[in-house]
Symmetry: C2
C-alpha cells in the first residue's frame, strides 16, 4: 500500500521497477495435472504437452536433445515429466509452465529410467558407460552411480549395457544386464543402495517388464528362446525360465523389431504378449505360464496393450505392416477391428479409465484419438514425427 | 510499460488501482495435484486438504454441511473434489485454492456418488427422494433426474432408496434399490439416459462394489444371505447369486455395523472380504466364488483393503474393537501386525504405489501415517473427528 505523500519522490525508474516486480507473479493458470500427458516428438527433440479432457496440445517444450527411442516417467505429484534421451540426457520438464527446470547429460547413451516408489529418486539405465545412476527427483543431483559390472569367462571384470529398468515396491529398482545375462535388484531402503545379483539368467536380456502389482519381473532374451522371471516376493528362489519356446524358435524368421515387453498385458490370470517374428499375439496362463492360445494378426506385433477395463487388446506392428492398429476382443479372442491411423504407428496410450486411446503415427505427423467404445476417430492432432505417448496417471502405477 | 512523460498526471488513486490490479493475479502457487487428497472432518463439516509427499495438511475447507458418512470423488483432472453430504448437499471443492466453487442441496438425504468415465458427469445416489441425479461436473447444473421407481406386490409404484452407485466403463452407472431389491444400469452414451432394470436380485441390497476392471458389480444383501452379482460384459445373463452363505447365517449374531463393500479387495483371482458379524476375514476364489479360507481377526471387520502391491491386506473393525488395525500377509494368510493408531478407526487409504497408509482415528482426533514396509508410524496429523480419507489417484480408477 503506497500513501499519496510518497508519490512525489517516486522516480520513473522505481515506479517501473515496482510494476515490473508485480508483473513477475506467475501468470500461468492454476490447473489440475491429472488429465495431462506428453507426446515425444523425436525429429524436433521436443515434447508436446497434451490435455486429454480437451484433446488438444497445450504447449511444446523444445531443447531436449536426441529423443529417438526416448521414454518418459512422471513425478509423484504428476507435475514434472522426466525425459530419458538416447544421448544420455536426463531432463525434468514442468508440465504447468512448459519449462525445463533441470537437465543433465548423465551418460553417453541411455535407454530409459524409473521413479522410486516414494518419488524421491529417479534412476536411469545406461548403455555407455553401462550402469545405473540415481538422481534426486527435485534437483537432479546425482545420488549414486552403480556400474553394471560382471566377470566374464576369462575371469575379467566387464561392464554391461543396462536394459529393462523398472521401479518395484519397497523402494527397489530392478534391471537386466545385456552382455552379462544377469538381473540386478537395488534396494534403496537404507542409506546406501544394496545390490543383489542374479547370474546366468539367460543370453542377452534386451528388455523387461514388471506386472501391475510389482511382483513378477520378466526379461526377454535376445540370445535364446524363453523368458527369465524373478518373483520379487521370493528373490531367494532365484530366476526361473518361463515360456521356454518364446522367441524366434528353430525357423529363424526375419525379425524386423524385437517386441517391447512393456507392451505386454498381464490381465487377471492371463498374459497377452507379442510373438517374436510371427504374425501372432500369444495368450499364456500367468499361473503356470503355459501357452493357451495364438491369435493370428496383421503383422509382427510390437505393443500388445489392454484397454483399462481389460475387454480389448490393441496391437501395433513392425515395419512393413506398421500402418495399422488391430483391436482384439479379450473374451472371443478375435480381431474385432482394424484401424488405420496413419503411417508408422509407433505407440498407443489409453486414458486412465479407458474411454480414449491415443495413437501416434510418426510418418503422417499426427496423433489420432479414438473413442474406444465406438472405435471412431474423435480427434487428430498435428505433431512432428510423434513416437511415445505418456499420460500422468502413470505416476501412480507400479512399474510405469 | 509506462513512459516517464505519463507519470506526472498519474493521481494516487489511479496508481493504487494499477498496483491493486496487478496484485489480483493469483497468488496460489502452481502445483501438481497427483499427491493431494482430502480427509473428511465430520464434526466440523470440513475437508482437510492433504499433501502425501510432505505428509501434511495444506488447507482446510469449511461450510460443507453434514458430513457424517460423507464420501468424495475427484474430477478427471484431479483438481476438484466432489463431496456428497448426508444432507443432500453436493459440493465441488477446488483443491488448489481451497474454495467451494459450486454447492447445491440436491436432495433431502444422499449416500454417495460417482463420476462418469469421461469425467463430464457427476451422479448422486439419493435416499430421499429415492433416485439418481446427474450433474454437469463443471457447473453442477442438473442434467437428469432418474427416480428409483418400482412396482410393489400390490401393483403400486413406489420409490426406493438408492445405494451402491458406481461408475462403469462405457460411460455407464450402476446402482441398487434397497426396498425394491433391484439393480439398475444407466447408459449415458446417447443423448438421454437409457435405464436397464434387473428385478428380484435379492432382499434389501445395502451396498455394492465394482471390481478394478469394471466388469463385475456385486451387491450385498441386508435382508438375506448371499450376494447379487451382475456381469457387465453380459447384462443379458441377468443377476446371479454368489457366496450363498455370505451374511449373518442361521445364528443371528449381533452385527454392530454392516461391512462396507467398497472395502472389498479383488486381487488377481482372489477376493478378500469382511465376514458379517463374525471375527473373520474371508477369502473367496473369484473365478467360481467358492469360499477358500477364513482368517480369524480381532473383531468384526469393516474395511478389508489391499496394499497396492497386493502383498498385504489391512483391516479395521466395528465397535467395540475399533481401536485396532490388523495387517494380513496375503501369501501366508496370517495376521502379521496389529496396529493401534487411536480410538474409533474409521477409514484407511494407501498412497497410489502403496508406500504409505493413512489411517483416521476419529475419537483421537488424528490421522496416523504408516510406512507400509516397516509398519512404523511416520507422521501424525491433527484433525477433528476424521473419517473418510481419499487421494486424487482415485480420479483415474474405475469405480473409485
Amino acid at each position: 500500500m503506497i500513501a499519496p505523500a510518497l508519490l512525489k519522490p517516486l522516480a520513473a525508474v522505481s515506479l517501473l521497477a515496482l510494476l515490473a516486480g508485480c508483473q513477475a507473479t506467475p501468470t500461468t493458470e492454476l490447473r489440475g495435472t491429472g488429465d495431462l500427458g506428453v507426446v515425444v516428438e523425436r525429429a524436433t527433440g521436443s515434447l508436446a504437452v497434451v490435455d486429454t479432457s480437451e484433446r488438444r496440445i497445450l504447449d511444446r517444450v523444445e531443447g531436449l536433445g536426441d529423443l529417438s527411442h526416448a521414454s518418459v516417467k512422471f513425478s509423484r505429484d504428476a507435475r514434472y515429466a522426466f525425459v530419458f534421451g538416447r544421448d544420455g540426457g536426463l531432463s525434468r520438464v514442468d508440465l504447468l509452465t512448459g519449462e525445463i527446470t533441470h537437465r543433465v547429460i548423465q551418460s553417453g547413451n541411455s535407454i530409459g529410467g524409473a521413479v522410486s516408489q516414494d518419488g524421491a529418486l529417479v534412476a536411469v539405465a545406461n548403455y555407455e558407460p553401462g550402469g545405473v545412476k540415481l538422481f534426486d527427483s527435485e534437483t537432479l543431483e546425482e545420488v549414486a552411480d552403480i556400474p553394471a559390472t560382471w566377470v566374464d569367462e576369462k575371469g575379467e571384470e566387464q561392464r554391461s549395457k543396462v536394459v529393462g529398468l523398472v521401479d518395484a515396491p519397497g523402494n527397489r529398482f530392478v534391471y537386466s544386464l545385456f552382455e552379462a545375462g544377469e538381473i540386478h535388484l537395488i534396494d534403496m531402503q537404507g542409506d546406501t543402495p544394496e545390490v543383489t545379483r542374479f547370474t546366468d539368467i539367460g543370453k542377452e536380456p534386451y528388455d523387461a517388464l514388471i506386472g501391475p502389482n510389482g511382483r513378477y519381473y520378466i526379461a526377454g532374451l535376445f540370445g535364446e528362446d524363453g523368458l527369465a522371471m524373478l518373483d520379487l516376493w521370493h528373490p531367494e528362489q532365484g530366476v526361473t525360465r518361463i515360456l521356454p519356446d518364446y522367441g524366434r524358435g528353430e525357423e529363424r524368421l526375419p525379425v524386423y523389431k524385437m517386441p517391447h515387453l512393456e507392451g505386454w498385458t498381464l490381465a487377471g490370470d492371463e498374459a497377452w504378449l507379442p510373438a517374436v517374428g510371427r504374425h501372432e499375439v500369444l495368450v499364456a496362463d500367468s499361473d503356470d505360464w503355459s501357452l493357451v492360445d495364438r491369435i493370428p494378426v496383421h503383422g509382427q506385433p510390437i505393443f500388445v496393450m489392454r484397454r483399462p477395463d481389460e475387454r480389448q487388446i490393441w496391437v501395433n506392428f513392425a515395419h512393413p505392416d506398421n500402418d495399422v492398429v488391430q483391436v482384439i476382443d479379450t473374451e472371443s479372442r478375435e480381431v474385432v477391428a482394424t484401424l488405420t491411423p496413419g503411417e508408422a504407428v509407433l505407440h498407443m496410450e489409453f486414458t486412465p479409465k479407458g474411454e480414449q486411446a491415443w495413437v501416434s503415427a510418426r510418418d503422417s505427423d499426427r496423433v489420432v484419438v479414438y473413442d474406444t467404445r465406438t472405435l471412431e476417430e474423435v480427434a487428430r492432432l498435428d505433431s512432428e514425427s510423434p513416437s511415445g505417448i505418456f499420460f500422468t496417471d502413470r505416476a501412480h502405477r507400479i512399474g510405469l
